[in-house]
């Protein structure tokens, strides 16, 4: 057991999975000699060599395209796209190929591969280096979309993703890379995909978040407890798709109120799907309309106004109060 930040926790998962399974390899821009733009792949090249830790040319479509080929053959590539905003260059390979082989070949071929991408705000960067696009991947049948909320879930979910027989888009919140350290067990720990966690129990309102927004949600819950005396149940989704509908619905059936927080723009975002799920399965339990706290419907804010765009504690608290007061 050691206290690790999210970078080190992800790095540990990669080291251990590569040791365990010789079919796991890492490919991406600057993942080898340089150790990765955020150092997540540090020392892998030194330990496993250039055959398994591949510095690719700067060619996203080629990284994913060749990884699909490797996966069809039975290897388990873990690809790194330097920033999620660069992934549109390879979106076609992800959507048209990685996601579809199982259906297209009716199970004869499948792609066991993980595509890691840093996403989201918190580093005062521009456009492609700061945006949150989980909704695009969550919408694609055949893909799994995973977003950890801290070092321990990052490690457990990355191991789970590498072992998952289907292609997994694995988003890592840049704002969380160095934000906090957590106890991470030395022995390999796996978290199942498609399973949310109730990280705080409460009876008055269900607050649903993931990734960097989980911390915001938890802080908001604390404020509401301290100032309003209400008990908020906080759910960490961990996997966006497939959505753990059962955990969400069970919680809202108990609390009768739900607020969803995400960093992606509001319209047609994951919050819409979660709200629809609640409406379908827990309509008669609802005491108030479901609210979403999300980024505005703009493609980017510019670093000077990033903070105004990404949900913060005050916005989440305000939305919860409106819901509670309804």
């Amino acid at each position: 057991m050691a206290k690790l930040n999210m970078v080190k926790a992800l790095n540990l998962a990669l080291h251990q999975e590569m040791e365990r399974d010789p079919d796991v390899l890492v490919i991406g821009e600057d993942v080898g000699v340089d150790g990765g733009v955020f150092r997540v792949t540090e020392d892998l090249h030194r330990k496993f060599g250039g055959r398994r830790v591949i510095d690719s040319p700067l060619a996203e479509a080629a990284i994913i395209g060749t990884s699909v080929g490797m996966a069809l053959y039975g290897l388990k590539p873990v690809c790194e796209i330097q920033f999620s905003g660069f992934a549109f260059q390879c979106f076609h390979q992800i959507e048209n190929h990685a996601a579809r082989y199982r259906t297209r070949s009716q199970g004869r071929f499948h792609c066991q591969m993980v595509i890691r991408m840093p996403y989201g705000g918190g580093v005062r960067a521009l456009e492609h280096h700061t945006e949150s696009e989980e909704q695009f991947y969550a919408h694609i049948p055949g893909l799994k979309m995973v977003i950890p909320s801290g070092p321990r879930t990052a490690r457990g979910l990355l191991v789970g993703a590498i072992r998952d027989p289907d292609p997994v888009i694995f988003f890592e919140a840049k704002g969380l890379y160095h934000a906090a350290r957590e106890e991470v067990p030395d022995e390999i720990e796996t978290l199942p995909l498609g399973r949310a966690q109730v990280v705080q129990e409460g009876k008055d309102l269900t607050l649903i978040a993931y990734g960097a927004m989980l911390r915001v949600a938890r802080e908001a819950a604390q404020v509401l407890q301290d100032e309003d005396g209400v008990e908020i149940e906080v759910i960490d989704l961990l996997t966006i798709s497939p959505l753990d509908r059962e955990t969400v619905v069970t919680s809202v059936q108990k609390t009768g109120r739900a607020v969803i927080v995400h960093e992606a723009p509001k319209s047609f975002g994951p919050g819409a799907e979660i709200a629809a799920t609640i409406m379908e399965a827990a309509f008669l339990s609802l005491e108030a309309p479901i609210r979403r706290v999300a980024a505005y419907d703009v493609s980017f804010a510019g670093f000077a106004r990033e903070k105004a765009n990404v949900p913060d504690v005050a916005r989440v608290v305000a939305a919860c109060r409106e819901t509670l007061a309804f």
């Binding site: 000699v33 080629a62 549109f88 260059q89 456009e127």
Partner: protein, 332 residues
């Protein structure tokens, strides 16, 4: 056509031209040294990619363009934008994310746009602006204009599909575009020989049947000569070119790896700094009696003042108003 060109010191240089070239290179250098300081102070957010060491390419190439010609670039574009004539004050304000920036503070360091100077922008996605350059060149030809498009990119863009797609189209449609690769030998941390099967980048021109030339990118006059030829081809014959300017960035890929020590040796960086394009040109001007020490000191003073003004302007410019957050998404 394949030789790397270096102009001999004997070449006669016009004093006005020398002053202009040196002044612009100094402006780019000093502007970015200052930007690095401002980044360290937290006035510039996220990432900042410095052009320091490569100034001879942007300045030499722009010096043979007309004002109505177009330039388009990747994300290491402060120098290209300044060379095209953008106001350093508004460029600095853009880096600061302020309302008086070229894009009202919303573009930032990697997305400088200046319509008044026909500067079609910086682009953060490697290789993605190469087809855009071809499209602009197509539009010029379509409307019967005689302008050209100068498209800067790095060696990192060469393995991208869009590099090849664009060269094919530019050749196929005979477009007035000059693709100029600033080969600084590293795509972030990956050395060129680890990323490209063919490291002589100008040779990709042969595949597409267009003109290709390599040039010493540390020699501003050599760059000028080679780009001038390519501009002539584009303007007179609507024939595209692929140029490779061999250069070196003295700093890291961005401010996040300022020393770039993981993938380059200190010796290599030291050796390359000996070929500092500003130093080389300065010495040549002094040696040839084109400029005096005093004249150069005056130029340096002027440039320093301009950069100080740019910082003061950016500092004084307010942050964009909150209501701008949701503006300019659709026509209002």
């Amino acid at each position: 056509m394949a030789q790397t060109k270096t102009i001999t010191p004997a070449t006669k240089i016009d004093a006005d031209l020398a002053r202009r070239l040196l002044s612009q290179m100094l402006l780019s250098r000093r502007f970015e040294e200052k930007a690095a300081e401002m980044y360290a102070l937290g006035k510039i957010g996220g990432f900042l990619h410095l052009y320091i060491g490569q100034e001879a390419v942007g300045v030499g190439a722009t010096s043979v363009l007309r004002a109505d010609d177009y330039a388009i670039s990747a994300y290491r574009e402060h120098g290209h934008c300044l060379a095209k004539g953008s106001d350093p004050r508004r460029v600095m304000a853009e880096l600061f994310g302020r309302r008086d920036g070229l894009s009202k503070g919303k573009g930032g360091s990697m997305h400088l746009f200046d319509k008044s100077k026909n500067f079609l922008g910086g682009h953060a996605i490697v290789g993605a602006h190469l087809p855009i350059a071809a499209g602009a060149a197509f539009a010029i030809k379509y409307q019967g204009g005689d302008q050209v498009v100068l498209c800067y990119f790095g060696d990192g863009a060469v393995p991208q599909g869009e590099f090849h797609e664009s060269l094919n189209l530019a050749a196929l449609w005979k477009l007035p575009v000059i693709y100029i690769c600033e080969n600084n030998r590293y795509a972030m941390g990956t050395a060129i020989h680890r990323a490209l099967a063919q490291t002589e980048i100008w040779r990709y021109a042969e595949t597409y049947g267009i003109a290709g030339e390599a040039v010493d990118g540390m020699d501003v006059l050599a760059v000028r000569e080679v780009v001038a030829r390519a501009v002539e081809r584009a303007r007179r014959e609507q024939a595209p070119s692929l140029l490779e300017a061999r250069t070196y960035r003295f700093r890291g890929h961005s401010m996040r790896d300022p020393s770039a020590a993981v993938y380059r040796t200190k010796e290599e960086v030291g050796r390359e700094k000996e070929r500092d394009p500003i130093k080389l040109f300065r010495e040549r001007c002094l040696k040839g009696g084109v400029l005096t020490e005093a004249e150069i000191r005056t130029l340096e003073k002027e440039v320093n003042d301009l950069v100080d003004e740019a910082v003061a302007f950016a500092d004084a410019s307010p942050e964009p108003p909150l209501e701008w957050l949701t503006a300019e998404v659709y026509k209002e």
